[in-house]
Symmetry: C3
Subunit: 204 residues, 3 copies
């Protein structure tokens, strides 16, 4: 049951991140195929990199190609209703938060199932949620957001730490719920309050 919910949230996250990527590609002179590449990279890039460094190959979307179809469906729907979705993009930010919290959890669980250390598990969680967006930014020639103004990785780390800190205190289901909630709520707060980490300047 828990697994089914996580799997549904995972597909939901892939669809939402694909939609965000599609909107971000508008007006940059990127063709239809390019939009699909960007959506794929953004939504499955983090998990791909996680599977590669863990040696968990073939990577997840090669084993289960439903992920590819979810991305394609999301891109087509988003392009068809782009103006409508663009007006509701505030909603997308909140849905992004749910998706990335799920990616964080899955990254932790995959690493744990392969006997990685807690430190590595937390890093794999953060990677699963952030690497896709970084590659997207590189492909579109921006400085990757995560290097510039995002506190989001920190919210993922907070979720990951809570997962391991409660290992002897809570049941698996409650730890999962806690991790998802912390990552998601902190991220929404960061978005609403425009929180950011200080940048590293020459004068300090």
């Amino acid at each position: 049951m828990t697994e089914l919910i996580i799997y549904s949230l995972d597909l939901f996250g892939v669809a939402v991140l694909s939609a965000s990527a599609t909107l971000a590609a508008r007006g940059k002179g990127i063709d239809l195929f390019g939009v699909i590449v960007l959506a794929l990279v953004t939504s499955v890039g983090g998990g791909t990199f996680r599977d590669l460094v863990l040696g968990n190959t073939p990577v997840f979307w090669v084993r289960n190609d439903i992920y590819v179809f979810v991305v394609l469906a999301s891109v087509i729907l988003t392009m068809s209703f782009a103006n409508h979705i663009h007006r509701k993009r505030q909603w997308l930010l909140y849905m992004d938060a749910i998706g990335l919290a799920t990616f964080n959890l899955i990254g932790i669980q995959v690493a744990q199932s392969l006997d990685a250390s807690p430190t590595i598990c937390i890093i794999m969680g953060v990677m699963t949620g952030t690497v896709g967006g970084m590659i997207r930014d590189v492909l579109t020639n921006d400085i990757p957001l995560v290097l510039r103004e995002e506190i989001y990785a920190l919210t993922a780390i907070a979720g990951g730490v809570s997962y391991f800190a409660t290992e002897s205190l809570l049941d698996e289901e409650w730890r999962i719920l806690l991790t998802l909630s912390i990552t998601c709520v902190l991220r929404v707060i960061a978005i609403r309050k425009h929180l950011s980490l200080p940048t590293f300047t020459s004068k300090h």
Copy 2:
């Protein structure tokens, strides 16, 4: 026999893509070693990424280092006769088409030999042909061409679809020839007619 022809076309494709990359590096302030890196990335980057996500490691050029020597020879020859080759660069475009059609076919066959689904096989074909060029563009700080104005991925998909659509109709040899021809001919048409996919703009 078929295998030997595909292998020869593969090495030919690696040599041609290395030559293209070498010409593209001219006048950008890239040193000799950088040209070799660009040529390597462009010609074997796609197949490397394919082998990585399929878990088909060590990757192909680690198992058979002749690919490295073909790249080196191609770079040295291209630099020596750069002005001459530059004048004939129209030819290079057609040879590129043959090379990329071969990469597409090999990507499909490698994925199929590892029991991937037809969807994944087609994606692996496209990747084998396009990822190298995308990394090259990222390294030289351009917006990747495949995100901007290329219909080439679509020609690779058409070749891949034809491979699986004729599965129960044709012998393996004929399907290979069909796939190579469709990918290559469509690409040449796209180049000559300056065909491109529509870009995704704000007004639509």
Copy 3:
């Protein structure tokens, strides 16, 4: 004993490259988390790519997470004493040379232990030392240094060739010392003399 020295030099190299990356991130509007990402990528990116293409997974820092803690410690110390270290950055260049010579040697040894050919071993050595810096440059939106003005890859190749050229002449320990020395000394000479490879221009 030899192994312990190499392991120590490896951790030293990771710390030094992280410090260099941290200094390079100053004043670019990169936040604290971004600096850590850059330091990780720069110091362990090359070895990660080497392990991936060799199929040597999980990659080294997943198997031994001390590398992650060395990077974190180095980033925190460098940020705390940034102005002080910046004044001594000439020292950092020499320490970089020691670190990259070690990475080169380790890349060769890892590839050799997996029965790769000498050519592939030498390439893996170069990759271990250079790929991290290339990804760092891509993330911060520079043309990768190694494509622009560095003779450093050549010094790594020289070290790698000397390793295999002396295979039947010297004991393992002496070959290791020779390879480290050649790579390191040539690099220091290249830095001091501002040596560079010629770039590939249109007029030649």
